[in-house]
């Protein structure tokens, strides 16, 4: 309960608009910070000098310049020093560029890890819901977990199906696959595909498709080779991952750090997937690690599964430590963060096994968390097996199957509305009656049950708000 109230306070704090003349220390995004800096004559001139300092010079050369040093000192007291960026915000690239203008010179030039420009991640309700959905699914042999009894089970195939039945996911998926497999006639170009275009399409896919559809394609759990090969193929590695030669990892990192977006995503990955103990991620936030891993896909250090081994996952970017010379140790360390990262591995495995593997770090099993928009997305937080015992879900989970039958092309399959789509289908005159009465009966039951839970959630979250305010 206390935890929930803290969560809610955080969420309210986010919504508080800072005063116009707020302290410089108030956290804000770097776009606003640079705007504020530009309104101040001294700050804006120093900011301009700083940008010029960074053009075509490495850090040590820059710091020898007196003018650059002074500019840096002034800017350290400006809002730019404390600013952050949000993932997927508008003008994200501009924000990141402002960030690195200051932080490139503050960071030790060749250090292993840099600070992430992104805001620290909070545990999102949407994701918890997704893991619960997968828990519901697993009970009906449709989720991301294989029941022991079923022989032909392929969660990666189920993930593909779920994506195909959703209009947005289907469109975006075929967009990136097309971009990644378009081959010019061999006579015209030796390249099998346009890597750049492929990477852009992949980034777009993960930005625009909701996580509970895109993540299962990447992180499905596998028990056989066919499934693991499908998982490995998710990002079309022939184009987005493999190249003719393997570059040196430190060279790859250098290339990545010359690009604001890649540099930010890499720093973010290092921050959120740092192995702290034997098993855990920073703050036990598995989800945070997965998000920053996905953030790297479509960048210069695109990571992937190295083989179709289902028993033992190995992740790596496409690079090697051969020819590192005296930087061998540093290179090995960089590669180890991908290949032997317990946090990343556990996060992936936990995702595959749904809700009972650390995605619900709650001591109370019957707690209900207020969601960000209580009236739109009630976060249903109950013990998954309550749902599975009381209501036998229909053969297919409502979220994945019924929304595909809704007729408004670009529907957002939000769980709160999708639990009602079972009823809509029955009324839908264009259905060809393929739903047998037994299944629709089940659907109706579960939708009634879940909507009652949602109502409870709304009521409870209103109570919380009253409590806090």
């Amino acid at each position: 309960m206390i935890l929930l109230n803290i969560l809610l306070l955080l969420f309210l704090a986010d919504k508080v608009v800072p005063f116009e003349n707020a302290e410089w220390t108030a956290p804000m995004d770097c776009l606003r910070a640079s705007e504020m800096c530009n309104q101040n004559a001294q700050c804006s001139s120093r900011f301009r000098i700083m940008r010029q300092c960074l053009v075509g010079r490495d850090r040590s050369a820059m710091l020898e310049n007196k003018e650059c040093q002074v500019a840096l000192e002034v800017l350290q007291d400006s809002p730019l020093h404390q600013c952050h960026c949000k993932r997927g915000m508008k003008k994200e690239l501009q924000c990141l560029q402002s960030y690195w203008t200051i932080h490139m010179s503050l960071n030790e030039g060749e250090e292993l890890y840099e600070t992430s420009p992104y805001e620290p991640m909070h545990f999102s309700d949407e994701f918890r819901l997704a893991s619960i959905i997968s828990a519901i699914g697993s009970a009906s042999s449709k989720g991301t977990v294989c029941p022991e009894s079923v022989n032909s089970c392929n969660p990666c195939l189920d993930a593909a199906k779920a994506c195909n039945l959703n209009a947005v996911c289907k469109r975006q998926r075929s967009a990136y696959i097309t971009a990644c497999s378009r081959s010019m006639p061999i006579a015209l170009s030796p390249e099998p595909c346009s890597r750049k275009r492929c990477h852009r399409a992949l980034r777009q896919f993960f930005e625009r498709v909701q996580n509970d559809l895109s993540y299962p394609l990447l992180f499905c759990s596998c028990r056989d080779k066919a499934c693991a090969e499908r998982r490995r193929q998710t990002i079309v590695p022939a184009c987005s991952f493999e190249e003719k030669s393997k570059p040196n990892c430190l060279e790859l990192r250098r290339i990545c750090r010359s690009d604001a977006l890649c540099r930010s995503r890499l720093a973010d990955f290092h921050m959120n997937c740092q192995t702290h103990s034997i098993t855990s991620c920073p703050n036990d936030n598995y989800h945070g690690c997965l998000v920053s891993y996905v953030g790297l896909i479509g960048s210069d250090v695109t990571p992937n599964y190295v083989d179709a081994n289902h028993a033992n996952i190995t992740i790596s970017p496409w690079c090697t430590c051969r020819g590192s010379g005296n930087q061998e140790t540093e290179c090995e360390a960089f590669l180890r963060d991908f290949r032997e990262n317990a946090c990343l591995r556990n996060a992936i495995e936990a995702f595959g096994y749904g809700a009972d593997a650390g995605f619900l770090p709650f001591t109370e099993s019957h707690s209900v968390a207020p969601s960000e928009k209580p009236n739109l997305h009630p976060g249903i937080i109950t013990k998954p097996d309550i749902i599975t015992n009381d209501v036998k879900p229909a053969e297919s989970v409502c979220v994945f199957s019924t929304c595909a039958n809704l007729k408004d092309g670009a529907e957002k399959c939000s769980p709160s509305s999708s639990f009602e789509c079972a009823d809509e289908n029955i009324l839908d005159s264009t259905m060809d009656g393929s739903i047998d009465s037994h299944q629709s009966e089940n659907d109706r039951q579960s939708s009634a049950f879940l909507s009652s839970v949602s109502t409870a959630t709304i009521v409870l979250s209103v109570v919380f708000v009253i409590q806090v305010v």
Binding site: A160, K170, S174, T178, R230
Partner: protein, 109 residues
């Protein structure tokens, strides 16, 4: 749907969804991936023109010569007016795109 006659009539021309595996499409691709196949079905009674009425009468009255008249249709067909493609991974781990394999819009033409 108020009258008895309306209730008896089948549904008008519209899109219907069916979940099928790519293999079931019968186009020679072997893949267990499930896609949403949409097709057009339904009656086109409401959109008959004078042409259709006249043709039907003349066929009935044997006014037209019998050679090809049986193939002349006296009501519009429910057909797709727009299509979409599908993209999938086959069982040999290769991606394919099949264009214009599923209906997007239907109309009586």
């Amino acid at each position: 749907k108020r009258t008895k006659r309306a209730r008896k009539g089948t549904k008008p021309c519209s899109l219907t969804d069916k979940e099928v595996t790519v293999s079931q499409l019968g186009l020679g691709y072997v893949s267990d991936e499930v896609i949403l196949f949409r097709y057009c079905s339904g009656k086109c009674v409401a959109t008959r023109r004078n042409y259709d009425l006249a043709l039907a009468r003349m066929k009935g009255q044997r006014v037209l010569s019998r050679e090809n008249v049986d193939r002349a249709r006296h009501s519009p067909c429910c057909r797709p007016t727009a299509y979409e493609g599908i993209t999938f991974l086959d069982n040999h781990s290769r991606y394919h795109t099949i264009y214009e394999v599923s209906a997007l819009k239907c109309a009586c033409v």
